[in-house]
């Protein structure tokens, strides 16, 4: 039953009664919302018959990226304890979303990550150290966004979503078949920029895919206190775009759903909102105490639905999880982590004069005076 077929609706001739006014002359529903509505259950592949159809090469690629991503998360978390990172919002438990988001995009596409999506940026090819610059605190963005077409990691919530829409719109105006994929959390869907981005995208039919990682909490606030919508994917229908609900720990399912959305956008079908149902296994960041707002039992229950283990199970079922393959995969991840640890243990090279270098294309007279002051201060320090 779609919204239009709900009993009691006065807007349709068949149910309108004589004492009710007719609909206004210009009014008509623009689209049947039925096709836009998400399924009742998150889409899954692993553990279903569809799992057998997943390409082996893809399955292995997902597995390797998941293992590497998990190791990146544990390594980065360890670096916060050693004082090498100011903060790290771990995506442990959400690696499937991160990996799938990166893998469904072509080289010419753009990724718009939030602050928790370092892993997606790295999976897209970004230097792991440069991807952590924001979180280490030596600069705000440590990479040239054009190099791998990854927008700066965005700290304000949902504000990068309209950027994705604008970029995708501009690309289409120029005749390029570029797609933008923008990532946001469940809390971010409450922000005005989320609403405006989805509305603009649908009106413009911009080639954008919105990926909501619903991990259950916005810091400490649970989803039930965040929204009264049946699901976050349901929000799509109000804007006139399809909403898809997917198991956010099922990497092949994510790859399929996001891949369809990307293809649809690329071929002029407009935007899609994808809600990935997942869970953040760690606290919001290392500065947060998750035991104050959720139970161990809940966390344990999700541990049984781990994104790495789910893929492992499928590989095992197909006799692909050989000990040689597992150890090679883990060795590669360990090597990545070792290199990351080593590079992060070196102090970053900082030039204080950078503070003034990029405020404007050419510094104003005021900034020139201030940079002269700082230079003099630094020189005086050096003399002591």
């Amino acid at each position: 039953m779609t919204v239009l077929e709900q009993p009691g609706s006065s807007r349709h001739g068949s149910t309108a009664t004589g004492d009710r006014p007719a609909p206004p002359p210009a009014w008509r529903p623009r689209v049947d919302p039925g096709p836009l509505l998400p399924d009742e259950e998150p889409y899954r592949v692993l553990g279903t018959e569809a799992a057998g159809k997943v390409d082996i090469a893809l399955l292995k690629r997902l597995y390797e990226q998941l293992v590497s991503g998990r190791r990146y998360n544990t390594q980065a978390t360890a670096l916060t304890r050693q004082g090498r990172l100011a903060v790290y919002p771990s995506s442990t438990g959400q690696e499937a979303c991160e990996v799938a988001a990166a893998l469904v995009l072509e080289e010419r596409d753009w990724l718009f990550p939030s602050y928790r999506d370092t892993l997606a940026a790295v999976a897209r090819g970004l230097d792991p150290v440069q991807a952590l610059t924001l979180l280490r605190g030596d600069w705000h963005t440590g990479y040239d966004p054009h190099e791998h077409r990854v927008a700066p990691l965005c700290t304000p919530l949902a504000t990068q979503l309209p950027h994705a829409v604008g970029l995708a719109h501009a690309a289409r105006l120029k005749g390029d078949d570029v797609v933008a994929l923008a990532m946001v959390g469940d809390g971010g869907t409450s922000e005005g920029d989320f609403h405006e981005a989805l509305n603009f995208a649908a009106v413009w039919q911009a080639p954008v895919v919105f990926l909501v990682q619903n991990n259950g909490f916005a810091i400490s606030v649970p989803l039930a206190k965040q929204t009264a919508a049946p699901s976050l994917a349901h929000k799509a229908v109000g804007y006139g775009m399809p909403g898809r609900l997917v198991d956010g720990n099922d990497a092949p399912a994510l790859h399929e759903v996001l891949g369809e959305a990307v293809a649809r956008a690329r071929h002029g079908g407009g935007p899609t909102l994808v809600e990935a149902v997942t869970y953040r296994m760690e606290a919001h960041t290392n500065a947060d105490d998750a035991t104050r707002y959720r139970s161990d039992a809940e966390v344990e229950a999700w541990r049984g639905h781990d994104p790495v283990a789910l893929v492992e199970r499928e590989l095992a079922a197909r006799d692909l999880l050989t000990s040689a393959y597992v150890s090679a995969t883990k060795d590669a991840a360990e090597e990545m982590a070792g290199a990351l640890r080593e590079r992060m243990n070196a102090d970053p090279a900082l030039d204080p004069m950078d503070l003034f270098a990029h405020v404007y294309a050419a510094p104003t007279g005021q900034l020139r005076e201030q940079s002269d002051l700082l230079r003099a201060e630094i020189e005086a320090e050096g003399e002591h």
């Binding site: 600069w139 705000h140 963005t141 040239d144 966004p145 054009h146 927008a151 700066p152 304000p156 504000t159 979503l161 309209p162 950027h163 994705a164 829409v165 604008g166 970029l167 995708a168 719109h169 501009a170 690309a171 105006l173 120029k174 933008a180 005005g192 920029d193 405006e196 981005a197 509305n199 603009f200 009106v203 950078d354 270098a357 990029h358 405020v359 404007y360 294309a361 104003t364 007279g365 005021q366």
Partner: protein, 365 residues
């Protein structure tokens, strides 16, 4: 042509009376014709041509892809413009009215202003945010704010306010050509001011960050910009009858700020009054007065004074004439500069302000 309000009078063949609105439209048109990357966007800018008709005819001439009506959402307008700039376009965004720009404030402050900086120059933001601003046209609530102080306090933004027809054209062209974001404040009540003006005149192109002396004088400097320029020019004319020879300086650019021109003028006259519609407390005048004091203290014969709007939410239209700084309030401030008083002699700071005595450098002659 240096005055904002000029009579038709004699016109050269290529110079015709034009309004500021027409000059702005022409600037947009010329910029779009020159550079296909320039895109105009905002609520009502397409078929309607903008509520002030500044974008009139652009959608017809360049197509709706390049002059596009957007959904009504200022954060969305500016936020999508950021993404468009990331992809190599030069968006020119219209915010329709000063107070309507506030929903876009987060995009402006958190992204537009600092994108270049946070990416070490990799993502410049060459976009122009046109905001019809200020009062004096009888607008109802939320249609008359002077919001320049908010933008001035945000590093990474350039803040411009033209006051003449020629500058409206030249400064908008410069804003669109700039590789940095520009908040372009269009004084609503000067939209219909006229001047003999030719867009072909190269002198019309105004470099960003340079103030302009609109009237030379030796007694004191009136420092102003945007909608208050005609007020100051009128006040200077009125003051002449009382023997005061006022210099009028049009800042044009609030960020970057032209310390050089301002200080040169104040050192010459020894006295300064800053005039603007924006609130005095926390307003641009405080910053300007401080800069002058820091740089010209030994040349000053009196404190730098401010003539500003009251520190109130912008009043309803039937009361706005009491709020807006007018000629009388400017002249009162000039009188308070007391250069013919015994301020410095008795140290009371309460001089009579009479007409006896000689000022410095023959002022008041």
């Amino acid at each position: 042509m240096s005055t904002a309000v000029a009579a038709g009078g004699t016109t050269a063949t290529e110079r015709r009376p034009a309004t500021m609105a027409q000059a702005l439209t022409r600037a947009l048109r010329d910029a779009m014709a020159e550079d296909p990357a320039v895109h105009v966007m905002g609520e009502d800018v397409g078929r309607l041509g903008g509520v002030f008709r500044i974008t009139d005819g652009l959608a017809e001439e360049f197509g709706e892809d390049r002059c596009s009506d957007t959904p009504l959402a200022e954060a969305g307008i500016l936020g999508t413009a950021v993404g468009m700039a990331m992809y190599g376009l030069r968006p020119v965004v219209e915010m329709q009215f000063d107070a309507f720009a506030y929903p876009a404030f987060e995009q402006l402050v958190s992204h537009v202003a600092r994108m270049r900086n946070r990416t070490r120059g990799a993502l410049p933001m060459p976009l122009t945010i046109r905001i019809p601003y200020g009062g004096g046209i009888g607008g109802v609530e939320h249609h008359s704010d002077s919001s320049e102080a908010y933008y001035m306090a945000t590093p990474g933004l350039q803040v411009l306010a033209p006051a003449t027809v020629a500058d409206a054209y030249g400064m908008l062209r410069a804003a669109i050509a700039s590789d940095d974001p520009v908040v372009f404040l269009e004084p609503k009540r000067l939209y219909w001011s006229k001047a003999d003006w030719s867009p072909e005149d190269p002198a019309a192109v105004a470099p960003i960050g340079r103030a302009e002396v609109r009237r030379t004088g030796s007694s004191a400097t009136l420092i102003t910009y945007g909608p208050s320029l005609p007020v100051c020019l009128e006040a200077a004319e009125a003051a002449r009858e009382e023997g005061w020879d006022l210099e009028v300086l049009d800042l044009r650019s609030l960020v970057p700020f032209d310390d050089e021109t301002v200080c040169a003028s104040v050192r010459r006259t020894g006295r300064a009054v800053v005039v603007h519609e924006s609130t005095g407390f926390g307003g641009p005048g405080g910053e300007i007065a401080a800069r002058i004091t820091e740089r010209c203290f030994h040349h000053l014969e009196a404190p730098v004074l401010r003539v500003a709007g009251f520190d109130i939410p912008y009043p309803p239209p039937m009361l706005e004439r009491h709020h807006l700084p007018g000629v009388d309030r400017v002249l009162d401030a000039v009188a308070r500069l007391q250069w013919e008083s015994d301020w410095t002699e008795d140290g009371t700071g309460r001089g009579a302000g009479g007409t006896e005595g000689s000022g410095r450098d023959g002022r008041g002659a």
